[in-house]
Amino acid sequence: MTKVEGEYDIEAVRAEWIGRKTPVYHGRYPVEYDPIRRYCHMVEDDNPLFLDPEYAATTKWGGVIVPPVMTDYFAGGGAWPEEDEPALVLQVPTRGDRTINLNISWEFIRPARIGDRLSRQTEIEDVYEKRTRLDPRSIWIAAKTTIFNQDGEVIAIGRNTMVAHRRPEEFAAELEGNGA
């Protein structure tokens, strides 16, 4: 998180960051069976469409497909070793260095299959200040991520609104100063 110490100018941040895009990043590895198995295990999903190659081959998909909601997993580098560039949303200057996701939406256009190589590009769509329960001057960052396959086809478009907030002790004096 790019926390700004001292004066924070939301209009300057908006002017500089809205519309900014990443390059197209490529997923570290192809779509593989085992991460799908772990993802399904997380939510006790034993659906053979995602876990059993023999069964999946008999369906209209012709093989295992990625559970749509985990598609972006394969367009990233994973948690470790860290990628060179932090996620774009974490580069936007904010008041605090704590973050939570609030609103998530996805459009799924076509499936990802075992062996596919996925890529992603993220764009900052909006940055604004709005109160949350965690911080009266939270910074909201809305971003759009497009996922491509190895043929350059768009397979999914995601939107995420993340809130960056301060720790309570960081704005306690501000509340006292306002008589809040």
Binding site: P35, R38, Y39, C40, H41, M42, V43, E44, D45, D46, N47, P48, L49, F50, L51, D52, Y55, T59, K60, W61, P67, P68, V69, M70, Y73, G78, A79, W80, R98, T99, I100, N101, L102, N103, I104, S105, W106, E107, F108, P111, L134, D135, R159, H165, R167, P168
Partner: protein, 153 residues
Amino acid sequence: MSGEPRAQRYWDDVSTGDDLEGFTFTLGWTELAKQVSGSQDFHKVHHDFEFAREGGHETIFYNTGFTRGCLGRLLTDWMGPEGWIKTFGFQMRRMNTPGDVMSVKGRVRGKAEGDDPETGVVNLEIWIENTREGVTTPGTATVLLPRRAQSTS
């Protein structure tokens, strides 16, 4: 071993007001470990109690990947193998935290024919609730289901 193939659901048989079957988890330490394993989200706010409290949270809360995976399973269980999630969205308004009994649910809000003669469109309300806070994660989804006459399986 995986489970049994999901039954195919057909657009023709769906009615507004139908409930999705859903499922329930009691969120314990094993679920805490599985959310990190499955999502590979190592953000400390989801597993480090002290870090979470310093940030103004009462405790840690289960992550976005886990939340998204639960709602995704709700839909793919219900649709059957030929269904497709077209759009999907949710808001994380309250937390699901250790000890919570959490249920994942949905309801049909409407249906339409759509552009493709082989499939029909179903609009759904989906959500996660827990016994401590009620609905924590409201959402919506639009899915495509095969029509009975044109289905290939």
